[in-house]
């Protein structure tokens, strides 16, 4: 049975700030949209524990939970983007347990199972009171290698006054005790700030409620195991009236592309002199790498951004730190909007176009084919490219060479990526037609393999190619066809 929605909530920026203070979890994946953009989440996401506590509060308030709670088990299945609405549904209830789910946009994000009954008696295996207390700041621990987590243990202090918990989650606090609710909130701090910290993904936890809390003011944790293959960390936790286990993943850090210094060792300083390249979507990833390569070779670059203004400016600063001012300009550009309107004030005579406009390509979706997603990809990868080429081709005084980054997914056709692969295939057909027609635009298509970028970061890590090794010969090929 899956019930109708019991309750719904849209988590907004105020919720993020409040729960960060309540829990002590200030991880940028929750608080900084630009930093979150570089993670698997693709955007800032709700603290999973916040969604769990809100669900508990609703389940108690609505009378779904009657009697005592003996334990709680949670699996986090998907991220909840900030600004999205979650719906709480009851899946199963009997006299021993309740199973509920949180869903957003038709997908289950969180699975909760409550054991009904009374808290367990303490079994005498109290956590060590003399274990170190973790010194906490508002900056998460930066752990990169899994072995750095292996021996971590200690006490984590509850982050906020009991009144905050009682005000925000009054029904859950009444049913379970505000100290226990604070302890559950503290799991968010444990994973997001301490272990694994900055590069974490909270996967699951299971706790029993303990009758007599040994320690009311904090939670003791100890790493009980790690798995290098999946970068997985398992912990045991105890204190503040709860005892149980936590599972999290240590994400790979965001990809850092090759520096201009490194690139300069591979590119002759005048290799691309005389060219002016417009790089759509050049603020990060392959676009930023391309900008650095061309600038290192003496070309001029105009980098566009849709969201990442700061990243684009940082890129220009890096280029100008090595190369005289004026070789890199930064302009806003949204590939879903009208190209002519956005580029009409462009003074430079563009000789080359690199079209790296993109959007998160791995999406949560239901079913084999989602037409709205296909439409979105077509708009970006086909219409947006065509409009941009057409405007530059008609406006410029010289012929334009454009690079269209297609994908090996066109050949491999991975099942979950159907819309993306189809849109890229459509883009290739468009490029072929453009080259067969009489025009001033010539398009070079490259089916790029899976490369290390923020878009391809996964848990577990999947082998990906080095972007510079692939892009340098591609850029040389495109640049060798100069506008005339």
């Amino acid at each position: 049975m899956v019930s109708a929605t019991l309750a719904s909530k849209t988590f907004d920026g105020h919720d993020q700030v409040f729960f960060a203070r309540l829990s002590g979890d200030f991880n940028p994946i929750h608080m900084d949209p630009l930093a979150a953009r570089k993670t698997q989440a693709g955007s800032a996401v709700v603290h999973g524990i916040h969604a769990v506590l809100w669900s508990l509060d609703r389940l108690v308030e609505l009378g779904t939970v009657t009697g005592g709670i003996a334990g709680l088990k949670v699996q986090f299945a998907k991220f909840i983007p900030v600004g999205s609405t979650v719906h709480l549904k009851l899946v199963h209830r009997d006299d021993k347990s309740i199973r509920a789910e949180l869903a957003s946009d038709g997908f289950t994000t969180t699975i909760l199972s409550l054991s009904l009954g009374t808290p367990k008696k303490a079994d005498g295996s109290a956590p060590p009171p003399d274990a170190p207390r973790i010194r906490l700041t508002d900056q998460p621990a930066v752990l990169v290698r899994l072995e750095e987590t292996a021996d971590l243990c200690g006490w984590v202090d509850i982050a906020s006054p009991a009144q905050w918990v009682e005000t925000r989650f009054p029904h859950a606090a009444a049913a379970m005790g505000s100290v226990r609710i604070a302890a559950i909130a503290l799991l968010s701090r444990l994973v997001g700030m301490i272990c694994p910290g900055l590069h974490s993904i909270f996967a699951a936890f299971a706790i029993d409620l303990i009758e007599t809390p040994h320690h009311q003011d904090g939670l003791w944790f100890s790493v009980s195991g790690t798995d290098e293959r999946f970068r997985m960390v398992r912990m045991i936790v105890s204190g503040a009236g709860v005892s149980g286990s936590v599972q999290a993943f240590l994400r790979l850090p965001p990809v850092v592309q090759a520096s201009l210094s490194d690139i300069s060792k591979l590119v002759a300083p005048t290799e691309f002199a005389g060219s002016t390249a417009l790089i759509i979507g050049g603020s990060r990833g392959l676009g930023a790498l391309t900008a650095k390569v061309i600038a290192a070779g003496g070309g001029r670059v105009i980098v566009t951004y849709a969201i990442g203004r700061e990243e684009a400016i940082q890129l220009a600063e890096e280029i100008h730190a090595h190369i005289p001012q004026g070789v890199c300009d930064v302009i806003p550009y949204d590939a879903r909007q009208d190209a002519a309107e956005q580029l009409k004030t462009l003074i430079a005579d563009v000789s080359h176009l690199y079209y790296f406009a993109t959007t998160p390509i791995t999406r949560q979706k239901e079913g084999l084919f989602v037409s709205s997603l296909f439409d979105e990809f077509i708009q970006l990868y086909v219409k947006g490219f065509y409009d941009c080429c057409r405007f530059l081709g008609e406006r410029g005084s010289r012929a334009l060479t454009a690079f269209y980054p297609s994908s090996v997914f066109v050949e491999n056709n991975p099942l979950p990526m159907a819309e993306y692969s189809m849109a890229k295939m459509a883009g290739e057909i468009l490029c072929d037609n453009m080259n067969r027609s009489v025009g001033r635009v010539h398009v070079i298509v490259g089916r790029l393999p899976r490369l290390k970028t923020d878009q391809t970061a996964t848990v577990p890590p999947v082998e990906s190619g080095e972007p510079l090794e692939v892009m340098l010969p591609t850029i040389r090929k495109v640049q060798s066809r100069s506008g005339s």
Partner: protein, 80 residues
């Protein structure tokens, strides 16, 4: 262990992870056939199966399994 015994273990582990007693696994069941069997939960499932059966998969195996039957076959080979 026979095919059915392994299949029963896999079903029990997955039911426990997804907290859903209605899950039924067959040899041709794919991940997308089971609601909520997403990538993170798949990893949890693999690790739980390893602990339960005392086996250890290679990452390449984990990525390549197209359906439950291939997991069962791999486990049988490891247990022999």
């Amino acid at each position: 262990m026979g095919e059915q015994e392994i299949l029963d273990v896999l079903a029990r582990v997955l039911r426990d992870l997804l907290m859903d007693d209605s899950i039924v696994l067959k040899m041709n069941t794919r991940r997308e056939d089971v609601p909520n069997w997403d990538s993170l939960i798949y990893i949890n499932f693999i690790v739980a199966v390893e602990i339960e059966l005392g086996v250890k998969f290679k990452v390449a195996d984990v990525e390549s399994f197209a359906n439950v039957g291939e997991i069962v076959t791999r486990i049988r080979a490891m247990l022999q």
